[in-house]
Amino acid sequence: MFSSSSSPPWLRTVSLGVGAILASVFAFILFSALAALLRGVEWEFFGAVWSPREEKFGLLPMIYGSLILSFSALALGWVLSLGCCCTLRGLGPRWLAKILLTSLRFMTAIPTVVYGFAAVFLLVPVIRSAFGGSGFSWLAAAVMLALQGVPAMTLTMDGALQSIEEQTSLTAAALGLTPVQHLTWVVLPASKKWLLSSALLGYGRALGDTLLPIMLAGNAPQFAASPLESLRTLTAHIGLTLSTGAGGGERSSLLLAGGLLLVNSMIVSLTARALAGRGPAA
């Protein structure tokens, strides 16, 4: 609108200051992670065993845990979101769409810790009685992460689909396509990019979430092979280990875990930006 020279000087200072602080947050974490990596060569941070008593600080089980948990939650959540989005866009009756939209909006307000709390006393016992074991498992965390991710993913998908639908509905109707055909064969294929970027959003959130894995996944630092086994994510690892006030190798491994999470979220954000910047806007 205006040019930068016309800005009040204090506003410019504040804004650039904010930018500088944000940049230094990144620098600080990345630098600490790097320092930890260099310092702790003998601790084998990328080893497969986490056992502080034996001076083994391998982060691999947590990296594995973070990845399989977030991808499984994403797969489940994305499919659910696609379904919900189709309901919103006219595959379901109007009343159902209305109820669903209100519910999804409300769900964005539910605190993660509340999801976690309810799941500890509702979902975990169900899993325990159905499959045995403690119930605190990959499965429990994945289900809740998926559910938690649905509203944000659905609403972003819906926004994009809606605008494409508005642009093309008259044309499709004039050709004799039914609304269902229009959605299936025109709108969905044309919004691939946004379906992808909503998946990216869901992945970023699932991988960065701390509370659900820490409350539900059991937190054993191991390579879970079945959904009923316990696992530990990088985020939960930071939360659990830091609050015990450990030092040395444990502390350094945390810094590295933080750095890994940060790098991952940066990759996600940059990819999302690149996706949003390319092609015609919705």
Binding site: S15, G17, F28, L91, A109, P111, T210, L261, S269
Partner: protein, 292 residues
């Protein structure tokens, strides 16, 4: 050909019902367990409410310290975040040169994606760093937690401010310029009031995010029992942390019930904030829809 339509139809019906069913079950469960315990006792235990509110007597078996801690934390967070957030949003939408716009919005986008536990870790590292250098006696506490939460919600504030301003019709700007307003005057008397509701909505959204976040405060000074917030650098209680802690460590039925109550209270708090922000932003949209 028809197969794809059928399976999509099936999927849509299934997932809508599944999501609604699970959500309904979850809420019913929380309300049925938490509803009965809502009341004076939930907050104040057996301390007289007035004395508890005034801080004359400590509350041992109630949520009041956690509620007070959360409210205080929110206040402090907003004190840190609101001005820079709105200022940066205004600068981005109105004044920034293309280069500044690129770099600032890149920083904001990147920060928006940071997992909150990483922000907590940052706070923790920051205090260690400060202890080694400037503040040998510094420790985690309210101030640090609020600072990190402020960083966490800054991006959403900036984005909300920016998009509220950019949603205004160009004609508004032109009209003000044509009347001979200076840039500052246009901004203060025309643009900001016009976008005010949207910006306020963004603040509510940020409040909601700060109120529910657990991972940051877990690493920056929240504890299970600290009484009422004692000062800027002391440890504190907070609702989300209390819920998290109860789920893992509850000792008896009464504590568990308090956990359900806390979950319900927090749900109402963030639900209320979201509702407010939604109303405000919808008002803004309605107001300018005819003009665009």
């Amino acid at each position: 050909m028809r197969k794809r339509e059928m399976s999509l139809l099936l999927l849509s019906r299934l997932s809508a019902l599944l999501v609604l069913g699970v959500l309904g079950g979850l809420l019913a469960f929380l309300i049925s367990r938490g509803g009965p315990v809502l009341g004076k006792e939930l907050f104040f235990g057996d301390t007289p409410p007035l004395e508890a509110l005034l801080g004359l007597r400590p509350v041992w078996n109630g949520l009041w310290p956690a509620v007070a801690g959360t409210l205080f934390l929110l206040l402090l967070t907003m004190a840190f975040a609101v001005l820079p957030g709105i200022g940066c949003g205004v600068y981005l939408s109105c004044f920034a040169s293309p280069r500044e716009k690129y770099w600032l919005s890149l920083a904001v986008d990147l920060l928006a994606g940071i997992p909150s536990i990483v922000m907590g870790l940052f706070g923790f590292l920051l205090i260690i760093f400060l202890r080694r250098t400037l503040l040998p006696r510094g420790s985690t506490g309210m101030l640090l937690a609020a600072f990190c939460l402020a960083l966490l919600v800054l991006p959403s504030l900036i984005v909300a401010t920016r998009s509220s301003l950019e949603a205004l019709p160009d004609s508004l700007l032109l009209a003000a310029e044509a009347l001979g307003f200076s840039r500052g005057q246009t901004l203060r008397h025309v643009l900001l009031p016009a976008a005010g509701q949207g910006i306020l909505g963004g603040v509510m959204l940020a409040l909601g995010r700060a109120a529910e976040d657990t991972a940051v405060i877990m690493l920056t000074g929240a504890v299970a029992s600290a009484g009422l917030p004692g000062g800027l650098t002391s440890k504190f209680e907070a609702l989300p942390f209390a819920i998290y802690y109860t789920a893992a460590q509850y000792a008896d039925r009464a504590e568990l019930d308090r956990g359900y109550g806390a979950a319900l209270v927090l749900l109402c708090l963030s639900g209320g904030l979201l509702f407010l922000s939604w109303r405000l932003q919808r008002n803004l949209e309605r107001r300018w829809k005819g003009v665009r």
